[in-house]
Amino acid sequence: MNREHAGLDRLIFVFAGWLLATAVWAADEAQLEKGRALAFDRNKGNCLSCHMIAGGELPGNGGPPLIQMKARFPDRQVLRDQIWDSSIRNPQTIMPPYGRHQILSEEELDAVTDYIHSL
């Protein structure tokens, strides 16, 4: 093995790793920020009208506070389903069916789910 090459290899490996990490981190941050904006937007998620969410002003109290979501929903898909159509779990729910009635697009729903899951 060529020593010089090994050194270069390692350097490039570290650089690639750093790039990847930054890319993933930036994408995560952008996704969470997008989800937060959608959740707070009165014309989109408007989740605050019923849920207390950290950092949200004038929350309503028709629904439970959205805290410790990873503990409540270890499986992200279960959380996504809850937001997509809450009437599956509770037929008389007052929470709007964000996915079933296309209040949010599937892509927007992913962003909101990621954000809520991070709470």
Binding site: S49, G60, G62, H101, Q102
Partner: protein
Amino acid sequence: MIGLRSITLAVLLGTTAVHAGPEEDRQRFREFYQNRLSSIPLEAHVDGAYAMNAGAREQWLEMEEFPPYEFELDEGQELFEASFADGESLASCFPEGGQGVRQGYPYFDEEAGEVVTLELAINRCREAHGEQPLPYLSGDLAKISAYMAYTSRGNVINVPTPQSEAALAAYESGKQFYYSRRGQLNFACSSCHMQNTGLNLRAEILSASLGHTSHWPVYRLKWEELGTLHKRFQECNSQVGAVPLEAQSEAYRNLEYFLTYMSNGLEINGPGTRK
């Protein structure tokens, strides 16, 4: 098996819907709020959300000392007393000369086979005397209606119990409207005003539907004028993403019929003031 069960369920639902008459509905409606908001006397719900929060109530009472509708109310009296081109006036179309009659509206007109609201009766009277009907959401009609409510303050809401098949059908259609989910956001009136009553939607406290019709028309600070009950129906439909219906449409009149019947026994306290 499943088919059989759902048929049984449908039959059961069908029978409860048929057997529960309006009077039984009204008792259950009252019991619901009695249980749900046990600290609030049922009669207090005529003040809407202000029956539920002491701070908001205090501000509201201050506002009512110099009510913002006072000017429109005076105009309403003038309009009520004014003569039509044929020399008659509104008083000629109403029992008791239209003084203190608000509590009997809406009622089911057996001959016409439809629900007659106070606003509809006012416009029909005008038309019978060769005058143009007035727009239903606000303005002169709301002012006249406000005056007629004012002369009825303290009278007890007394909508006759629907008896005939046609009256019961109108009542049932209003009831179905009230409990049906509508709009992209998928809310029934009952989702907010029963299931979530007393709770906050953002910063707004959700009022009880018991007493919802006692105090109309209402001067809303947001409207900056008096508006009719059907204007409020339209707003409550719109905010859930449903296309609102026409004021005084048959569906809204039936809804008013059902809602007002639920409030039988409460006092008229219109016109009112709201945020």
